[in-house]
């Protein structure tokens, strides 16, 4: 029997708001801030306090819902999800249940097999919990509660079980992270836990429409954990089915160190969260005008931009993907294209993904910080395109531009780096090199023709690297050819 994996995802993404979901506390970096330094009576769940919805969180959620082409509910409801845990101050989490903010969306992904649409079941708003630290000591063990994260706005995105391969899984997860960053709603700092995944994994016989028993894996906080845990679970289920066993519905955790899933809850132990509408919050109304304003503020979405970069600029899929990974870079590219109309966009792309990326890597600067503007890079590349300077010179000039902030024109003029295409001058340099290296010339004439590259290098050195390389090669070939015919 042939089985195929059926995977659905739940994504929890923290929203980049200034304040928490239901109170005025600032959202702080949980890895840096002192514990419980951003907590007030509301997010500590003190008696008599009440939640008030953060409009900015709703707006960021609407950005995502619109980008995922969801149907957005004009009226949605908050609900209480009840369970006891020390990191949950009120004893319930304010979430959305029966009437979420948005439903029925989709996100396109690109894999080697082509383009696919992964359907989005729902998008809703909720609040994050606090954080527990378990201290296990020799004399006593205890747990510490940090409520800095309690009440931070969370967006929950749930897919349909449309993912069937690990490649699709990775493409979707990365695509979602990219989308959230591009929309400015999430930092994408996976290592800080600002995006968390849960995967529902089941197997079915190929061609069957029926879904198998699903197993849920929680707390997957990196792409690596997501992929490894899912792969591991698929293997486990495959082996079980092949042994003729059935799959038990359960909830699993993932251990990053052993790279194994472990059981958290069986079906019998499943929580009854006793959801009911949150009486402290009136229905969330999204007026049409608000939605239109948000829609108008959306940037071009990654998938569309990827396609446009290929069609409009003739870029390869790889180069386009490299550029749009950071919208600032994609913008930089497009501005350079604008600034240098005579320069092929592909050439601009390769300079950015090559020289510029290398500089960013090596200097540790961010793109916003570098001393070369798109117009500056455009000027340099125009000099190359017009054969004013050659490639090697251009690389040297760019690195000086990046270091000093001076323009290409200034550097080329001052240091006399302009390419030399004077035919007489080049002919004189070639003749001199051939005359000064009789041994090598002899070898060449007796058949060691690869030496032509060595002569080329010698002439270029004599020319201080400024000779027009095409002209130089033609002249070199011409003089060698005439010597060959003379000697034979």
């Amino acid at each position: 029997m042939q089985y195929e994996p059926v995977i659905g995802l739940e994504i929890h993404a923290e929203l980049l708001t200034r304040s928490k979901m239901f109170c005025g506390c600032p959202v702080v970096d949980f890895t840096q801030a002192p514990p419980n330094s951003a907590v007030c009576p509301v997010c500590a769940g003190m008696p008599g306090t009440l939640p008030v919805v953060n409009r900015q969180a709703v707006e960021l959620a609407l950005r995502v819902a619109l980008a995922l082409q969801c149907q957005i509910a004009p009226v949605s409801l908050f609900a209480r999800k009840n369970y006891f845990y020390p990191d949950l101050p009120k004893g319930y989490q304010i979430s959305q249940y029966e009437y979420p903010l948005a439903q029925h969306g989709k996100l396109p992904i690109q894999t080697a097999d082509g383009e696919r649409l992964i359907r989005i079941r729902r998008v809703h708003l909720e609040e994050d919990t606090g954080k527990l630290t378990h201290v296990i000591g020799e004399k006593e063990s205890y747990s510490l509660v940090d409520l800095n994260r309690a009440g931070v706005p969370l967006l929950e995105i749930v897919t349909e079980p449309d993912i069937h391969t690990l490649e699709e899984l990775r493409a979707f997860a990365e695509g979602m992270r990219h989308l959230l960053r591009v929309l400015g709603v999430n930092s994408g700092d996976m290592e800080k836990g600002v995006i968390r995944f849960e995967a529902n994994v089941s197997l079915r016989t190929v061609g069957s429409a029926e879904l198998g028993t699903r197993v849920e894996i929680k707390n997957l906080n990196s792409f690596r954990a997501l992929i490894r845990a899912t792969a591991y679970q698929i293997e486990q289920q495959m082996a079980a089915l092949q042994r003729g066993e059935t799959i038990e519905q359960e909830t699993l955790g993932w251990d990053d160190t052993s790279e194994m899933t472990f059981s958290q809850r069986s079906k019998e132990e499943a929580h009854d969260y006793r959801y009911f509408p949150e009486p402290d919050l009136p229905p969330l109304v999204v007026e049409h005008a608000w939605l239109e304003r948000v829609a108008a503020s959306l940037p071009e979405l990654p998938f569309a931009r990827l396609k446009r970069f290929q069609t409009q600029y003739g870029l390869s899929a790889e180069d386009a993907a490299l550029l749009i990974a950071e919208y600032l870079i994609a913008d930089y590219f497009e501005e350079t294209v604008q600034a240098a109309p005579g320069v092929a966009p592909r050439m601009i792309a390769s300079w950015i993904t090559g020289e510029l990326f290398a500089w960013l890597n090596q200097s540790g600067e961010r793109l916003e910080e570098i001393k070369v503007s798109p117009a500056g890079l455009g000027e340099l590349l125009r000099l190359v395109a017009q054969d004013e300077i050659n490639l090697n010179t251009a690389k040297t000039v760019l690195s000086e531009m990046l270091r000093t902030g001076r323009t290409a024109g200034q550097i080329v003029a001052e240091r006399g780096l302009k390419q030399i295409s004077d035919a007489d001058q080049i002919a004189r340099w070639v003749a001199r090199v051939l005359a000064e290296n009789p041994q090598e010339l002899k070898s060449y004439l007796s058949g060691k023709e690869t030496l032509i590259n060595w002569f080329f290098g010698q002439v270029m050195r004599l020319a201080g690297g400024r000779a027009d390389p095409q002209q130089l090669r033609q002249e070199l070939e011409k003089q060698l050819q005439s010597m060959k015919s003379n000697s034979s």
Partner: protein, 495 residues
């Protein structure tokens, strides 16, 4: 001021006039009430926490402000120097707030309820925090972990509940006014039992921020005083939109028009047949009907009406309120505030703390509510209750197309004896059958005295209005009180 006159007899309105004229100092006034509290508290036990130092400090500050204002001619805050008692379910920053529960025995909120802060800003002086059934769950104040409050008219009887401490304190003239909360009748029923005037506002008209939640979709903050005029004055400084309560409503608030007119020619009063049922104490029915007749004589048009879903109010309430309570009370886990009963693991810590520190009625309602929300039961219980709640609301909407006000009894009987319903929660729940519908519909209700039974216990009447119709209720009660003397009777046995 003339020492032969007992200052504790003053209404808020009279006291304000005396304070403003300089005839009376606020410190004198507050001392008079503190002395009376000291004298009566051992017999009545209306308070959980007294704040005499705070009160005298505020009084001294108020006196300075009056003196300054009299010299400079500047105006003073509208309620400057008026003593107030606050139900111990409302937060007052820096003063412990027990909610009548051991689970909050040591809890001192760092914030004040919005309604308390508004009144403080208007100049009130806080005498203390009054007794309540634990988390407002009860109709007699017997469910307080801090002892029973006694009815000033007869100390063998309950004062009603859950705001029994506030009602008893006003009736016994330990304070001229007090705040209460009303989730199912907790202001109106004790007002009726203690012979004072008590208002339950429209849901959303007074902020719930700082009111410790019981049934969030039903909870309201109300006020007790000895006259409708005093209630109106206090209410005008309590109501209004609060950015910290998303369910509060931005509704314009004209000061209730309590002019001297006693003509009720333009008022249509509806009398719902469902509120005059078998089993109601005959003296209650008699006094309420007499009061309606009195209003009719003043020109009001009295019409029989029907609120057909009234009988469902009790079961609907006892599904919705406990369901919301089961979530609202989940935060009392011993982790962040309140006493903690230590244990080996977190689950035992939760169970020990909640098991040992919640009282029986609170546990009963948490279990009821948890059950009503459980998977497989939600639709049949909580879901169904919400549907019927809508029908009850529609009953009122239809009624208010025909009439301006609905007049009814507050409770089926006068104050019952302490311990009378101790072993019969259902009998206790039945105490609220006439007050629950207004909470389910979110409409305002006002209770005020209209007579006495053969034991000398007060009988109250309830007026219910359309949403934001508090003015009409207060106006009617004011006219009634200007033409009758029931509200002027005071319990003398307690002195």
């Amino acid at each position: 001021m003339n020492d032969t006159r007992d200052l504790t007899n003053l209404t808020v309105t009279d006291a304000l006039a005396a304070l403003r004229s300089g005839e009376l100092s606020c410190t004198e006034l507050v001392r008079a009430f503190l002395e009376r509290i000291e004298r009566l508290e051992p017999r009545l036990h209306a308070f959980i926490t007294l704040t005499p130092e705070l009160a005298l400090r505020q009084a001294a500050a108020a006196d300075r402000q009056y003196t300054r204002a009299r010299k400079s001619g500047e105006s003073t805050p509208p309620l400057l120097g008026i003593p107030l008692a606050v139900k111990d379910l409302l937060a007052l920053a820096g003063v412990r707030c027990t909610c009548g529960s051991r689970i909050l025995d040591n809890f001192v909120p760092p914030y004040s309820a919005t309604v308390v802060q508004r009144l403080l800003d208007a100049g009130v002086v806080v005498l203390g925090k009054t007794n309540t059934d634990e988390f407002a769950m009860g109709s007699s104040t017997e469910n307080s972990a801090y002892g029973v409050t006694r009815n000033p008219w007869n100390v063998k009887h309950v004062p009603g509940g859950s705001s029994g401490g506030s009602a008893a304190a006003v009736a016994a003239r330990m304070t001229p006014a007090a705040l209460g909360t009303d989730t199912g009748g907790s202001v109106r029923q004790p007002a009726s039992f203690c012979g004072v005037t008590g208002l339950k506002p429209t849901y959303g008209r007074v902020s719930r921020f700082g009111l410790v939640a019981y049934g969030s979709s039903l909870d309201t903050v109300g006020v007790f005083a000895r006259t409708a005029a005093d209630v109106a004055l206090l209410f005008s400084h309590m109501a209004g939109f609060d950015p910290r309560d998303a369910t509060s409503v931005d509704f314009p608030l004209p000061l209730p028009c309590l002019d001297g007119k006693t003509n009720l020619k333009d008022v249509r009063i509806g009398v719902p047949q469902e509120y005059f049922i078998e089993g109601i104490q005959p003296e209650v029915e008699g006094a309420v009907k007499a009061a309606i007749t009195h209003l009719e004589k003043l020109g009001a048009v009295v019409l029989p009406i029907s609120l057909p879903h009234t009988e469902y109010a009790l079961p609907v309430y006892y599904l919705i309120a406990p369901a919301e309570a089961s979530a609202n009370l989940a935060r009392y886990d011993g982790v962040r505030f309140g006493p903690r009963v230590e244990a080996e693991n977190i689950l035992d810590l939760f169970c020990n703390t909640r098991g040992q520190l919640f009282g029986a009625e609170v546990k009963r309602r948490i279990m009821l509510g948890t059950y009503a929300l459980s998977a497989g039961y939600y639709d049949a219980y909580y879901g169904q209750a919400q549907k019927v709640r809508t029908l009850i609301k529609q009953d009122f909407e239809k009624a208010f197309e025909l009439v301006d006000v609905i007049a009814a009894p507050v409770a089926p009987s006068t104050a019952f004896k302490i311990g009378e319903h101790a072993d019969d929660p259902l009998a206790m729940y039945l105490e609220d059958i006439f007050t629950l519908p207004a909470n389910l519909a979110g409409v305002p209700g006002l209770a005020f005295p209209v007579g006495f039974d053969y034991q000398g216990l007060p009988v109250g009447m309830q007026l219910m209005g359309a949403p934001f119709g508090e003015e009409m209720l207060l106006r009617l009660a004011h006219v009634y009180q200007q033409t009758t003397t029931w509200h002027l009777q005071t319990p003398t046995g307690v002195d």
